[in-house]
């Protein structure tokens, strides 16, 4: 479970308790949420509850402020035992229109961050975001582009596949297999694409409420050799306002119904 799904109403300590009570064992966490409750308390609670942190959110955007915090984030991610740290490149800088140049710049930054990350023993995760977010959120938009980057930059860099961002891609099957063959699929995020989608950032759906063939998507990722947890990450104004326990319960139920091969959502009660 990714904390972003319920962070509006549950701080990190509450989130960890809610997950542990439902026998969710893997969580993805946020640096700013750790700071809100205090690093020591957050880490102690996570360990006491026997939870494992998978993804750490995040390094970026790649401007001066975002990069100034990068080393601290890597150190903290290592301290929390995270498998990978998400890279969030940001979109075009103000006034910038040269997208190929922005992409080359992002690659240079990632190469430098990778050197640092190797020192901390933490992997870096490229999560291609939906092409509608290129203007203001990312310059990495397809799994193909992320795979190319990983090929060029080498060990320690992998990809996270979020259904919302890649479900439309005609190259999805081939590029998922390519990522799997390279052993670089670090995560698999689920949610859904609503029709209509009213907001580009905060109108994702709960699994099953939209048009994505989630079972087929999981089959692709599992077929490519990924055997890690399924991560529920729903950025949604609607779901953010609901009771966090209810949201997590529904998410678990949907995963069980829709993703029969999921291994991440294991509950004692069902």
């Amino acid at each position: 479970m990714n904390h972003a799904t319920v962070r509006q109403r549950a701080d990190m300590l509450e989130f960890l308790e809610l997950c542990a009570a439902r026998n969710i064992r893997f969580v993805s966490i946020w640096g700013d949420e750790i700071e809100k409750v205090g690093e020591d308390r957050a880490l102690a609670r996570m360990q006491a509850l026997g939870l494992t942190a998978v993804g750490y959110n995040r390094i970026g955007p790649f401007d001066a402020d975002g990069l100034a915090r990068a080393e601290r984030d890597l150190e903290r991610a290592a301290q929390f035992g995270c498998d990978h740290v998400f890279l969030f490149t940001g979109g075009l800088a103000p006034g910038e229109k040269d997208l190929p140049r922005a992409r080359r710049h992002a690659e240079e930054v990632i190469a430098r961050l990778l050197e640092l990350a190797r020192g901390y023993g933490v992997k870096l995760a490229l999560e291609p975001l939906h092409p509608m977010l290129v203007g203001d959120r990312t310059v990495i938009t397809t799994l193909s582009q992320a795979n190319d980057l990983c090929d060029r930059l080498g060990a320690g860099l992998g990809v996270v596949i979020d259904v919302h961002h890649v479900w439309w891609d005609p190259c999805l099957a081939a590029e998922t297999a390519r990522a799997g063959d390279a052993g670089r699929i670090l995560g698999f995020h689920v949610n859904d694409w609503l029709v209509p989608t009213r907001d580009m950032l905060r109108d994702r759906g709960m699994m099953g409420d939209g048009v994505i063939d989630l079972a087929a998507m999981e089959a692709l990722v599992r077929g490519a050799g990924y055997d890690g947890p399924v991560e529920v990450e729903i950025f949604s104004k609607d779901w953010a306002e609901r009771d966090p326990a209810e949201v997590i319960d529904i998410a678990i139920e949907r995963c069980h119904t829709i993703l029969p091969t999921s291994r991440s959502v294991e509950t004692t009660a069902t």
Copy 2:
């Protein structure tokens, strides 16, 4: 100039007058707008004003209703002397989640339409639409996919490149060159991507108001051998409400400023 840019306030006859008065020589037209003013009047006015129709909008969505009108649209497009007819596949059918299957189905429909279109001497245009529109508007989302389809289906099928739909694509340069090498670029549509984009269908920007490097995009398309007109197509609530003459004047001015190699927007006054 594409009539959609000003259709909310100018019917087809007014639109044609506005274009001719500004020495715009090429227009793209809509079947439903022809019907509103009458086919005979529309055609007579177009001919009297010496205007040439480039694109005809459109065949689709690919449901029973949309396809029932296809032959009539092809016949009319030929009558109006249009170079090409746009194919608008539509998105996933209600309840449908199998996107690869929907794509195979669309390809079968296009193959049948192509047979018909050849008989009328009209080309069919695949315009890959933005990936954010896969759920409800199209299953053809990248220039690469459109090129693959053209390769498979053969003569009479080409692509239209609209900056709004493809500007984000890391494969854009390669796929534009590929389309150019095959002699299949039928049109080049300009507008802009606004940050933020508040609506997926009707919030496109006027050229220069957004983040797309339009000069670079035109250089790509011209470099690939396309020597046809630049088409202004702006689906926008804001621009639709403004005075059509003003909108066209601004569009011409922006094309002159931003796209120095444009040949389509030729005015006597500037």
